[in-house]
Amino acid sequence: MTVSSVGVLLAATLLAASLQTVAEEDAPYPAAAMQRSFEAKKQAGMDRLTQDEVQALCTRYTTATLPPAEAERVQKQSLSSVKPPADGQYLGDFKRGEKIAQTGTGLQSSDDPTKPNGGNCYACHQLAASELAYGTLGPSLQHYGKLRGQTPAALEAAWRKLYNSQADVPCSNMPRFGHQKILDEQQLKDLMALLFDPNSPVNQ
């Protein structure tokens, strides 16, 4: 067997492998079955089953398998949705922020729609050292502000992440809290304070 034929074989194998990956990503698309299998309940209407472009892409791909061109598009489009705070002030009240981070309710059919939504940050992230019951789906955010300081770049980056995580990491698992209107501007500021305020439990 010649060197070039080995090369061809190798390329063919690689191609086959990559095709296989794509084929697996393209499993039967469940949108129609989803519509048939659910019913609206209170605030959780059937419209919630309809995917936006990012959701559809991130159903098909993960951050690791998303083609680079698509990744760039998602990132750009998401970045354009990020609205900085109207008054230019990033930091609210860290005590309110802690409460938002601890609250897991909001937007479920079982939740009271007149109550403010929670951020449920502790479900996925370590924040204040005193809270033992933290999840590990996302990275630890302990000492977030202490490690970074309140530089404009750090503040902007955190705001962007909270507002629309897809602007940072396409197909991130983190909800788009600002873009999807899960949290309002004041709540996002309060979470920013939880992350950055030197007196916040996160930075002790």
């Binding site: 919630r48 159903t59 059919s109 789906l137």
Partner: protein
Amino acid sequence: MNTRFAARLLYTMLASGTLLLAGAVRADTSTQDAIAEYREMFGDDNPAELWQARGEALWHEARGPQKANLEACDLGLGPGVIAGAYAQLPRWFADTGQVQDLETRLVTCVTSLQGIPRDDFLKVKFGDGEKKSELEALTAYVVAASRGKPLTLPLKHPAEQAAFDLGKAVFRYRAGPHDFACATCHGEPGKRIRLQELPQLNTALGAREAYTHWPAYRISQGELRSMEWRLQDCFRQQRLPQLKFGSEVAIGLTMYLAKTAEGGVLAAPGIKR
């Protein structure tokens, strides 16, 4: 930079990194040990037994317009065979022409053998305190009769394969205001939500860990919960509308989880937080 120096530097970095990591793991371990101690203290005294006993009584009691019991119910292994039946569900049933999970099959038996209307039987699908669910009691009874049996799902019928394929696709379907899919929380190994370990349900190991212990007594609710409840409640927390009982997606996801967990030995009903 000479190689030896580089190697030493790398070694130092690794060592310090390892130390840091070890510290973090240690802090975590004490919490996890305490949680393990909490779980151990429940021992074998699982209130799920109360549901099993109620289910057993219901199974043998002549009820409904036809004053019949459920002893002729065919759960896939022939009329009246309960032992091991849950280990081979969901499956395709010729008499209904459908892939059915345990709960929808029990509905078939109750309606056809006892003549109880479906809606009457399903009035309390999921129990809540004084409102007790007959379905959950029967489920507990049948499931317990498969303890120690390995999950076996050959998917010989094309409809079974189709259910599996649908479930697999739904597992990754991101939607709703939070962009959640099943895979968001159950697609990676070794993760936790708050203090609860998240089984990676698209692997045999994770699916076995989870599936073999469901249905389960949920301490938080003081209720025995079925797989249909488990899936419906996951979608509630995903912020999606309500999953319909016995729907394509409910059966598909159950099939996907059961098949992925194939070979796992059933230990249900379990006891969960």
